[in-house]
């Protein structure tokens, strides 16, 4: 099966968040290479922004997936969006979201990201904890 064109994305977050999630995406779908892991340990906000910009330009990504809304990667990505209006930012990323993104039949990365967000929301559940 050929991989959708133009659907590269960055994954950025705390610790080894990106590498861990991408390894899981690879294990489930074999499409981990669509996602580029960003490691920001030891970097200030300005350097994170620089790194994100560099990777976006290098691989042609149009979506950045981050972990926390308040995370430094998210903040840096929000700054980047000002200068890169064709890039979308998704925070609160989880595994179902990334699986849906890489498996989406949508050719457009933004459309794939919107669908992935819906799937991710629907994939959260709790069992065995009666109120």
């Amino acid at each position: 099966m050929s991989e959708p064109v133009g659907k590269r994305a960055l994954v950025a977050g705390h610790g080894d968040f990106a590498a861990g999630l991408i390894s899981a995406v690879e294990a489930v779908t074999g499409r981990g290479e669509l996602l580029d892991p960003i490691v920001v340990k030891g970097l200030c906000g300005e350097d994170i922004q620089h790194l994100l910009r560099e990777r976006i330009q290098a691989i042609g990504a149009r979506v950045i997936f981050t972990d926390l809304q308040a995370g430094s990667c998210t903040m840096a990505a929000r700054r980047l969006l000002r200068e890169m209006p064709d890039v979308a930012l998704v925070s609160g990323t989880n595994l179902p979201m990334l699986l849906d993104f890489v498996m989406s039949s949508a050719d457009d990365a933004h459309e794939a990201a919107r669908g992935a967000v819906e799937r991710a929301r629907a994939a959260i559940s709790i069992s065995g904890a009666p109120a």
């Binding site: 705390h14 340990k41 030891g42 970097l43 200030c44 906000g45 350097d47 972990d67 926390l68 809304q69 308040a70 995370g71 430094s72 998210t74 903040m75 929000r78 700054r79 000002r82």
Partner: protein, 162 residues
């Protein structure tokens, strides 16, 4: 309550501050002191998007903040005082009332040397931190609550080991 954490962190609002410290300390407000952020609508909005709606976020320049700190200390909620650099925190310590300073994150930049995983300093910044300590503030480095608070001189002495 009072200002329960006086933190220097060049990432300002981020996960460690909002979640790592904010949740266990039950923080109700953050006072972000930074001249550039305080003077920019866009920057203020950016940081506001990073905090949960129940957390109050106030922005001030260093000059504005100093005389307001006593009022913030009377707030019944626990609060965090946050600066992005040492110089700003030093100004607040000089004004008085800041007795403990947490170094939460000063990251890599040209001319800085590494002291901890999350602390890099120029020789001048090293001196500035010592100046803060000499004003009577207890200066320690601690990125998250579960980590040990490392005294300033211990951190500076151990630079070769990291």
């Amino acid at each position: 309550m009072t200002l329960v954490l006086n933190r220097i962190d060049d990432r300002l609002i981020h996960g460690q501050v909002v979640v790592g410290w904010g949740q266990p300390l039950d923080v109700g407000f953050i006072v972000l002191v930074d001249d550039a952020v305080a003077s920019s609508d866009w920057e203020r909005e950016l940081y506001r998007m990073g905090v949960p709606p129940e957390m109050d976020l106030r922005f001030h320049s260093a000059a504005e903040a100093a005389p307001l700190l006593d009022d913030y200390r009377l707030d019944p909620r626990p609060g965090i005082l946050l600066t992005g650099d040492i110089a700003t925190m030093r100004e607040l310590v000089v004004h008085g009332g800041v007795r403990e300073v947490n170094i939460g994150g000063i990251h890599h930049r040209a001319g800085r040397r590494q002291y901890l995983r999350y602390v890099f300093l120029t020789p001048q910044e090293q001196q500035d931190l010592r100046a803060v300590a000499s004003l009577g503030a207890l200066v320690t480095a601690q990125d998250v609550p579960a980590a040990r608070a490392i005294p300033l001189e211990e951190m500076l002495a151990n630079a070769e080991d990291v």
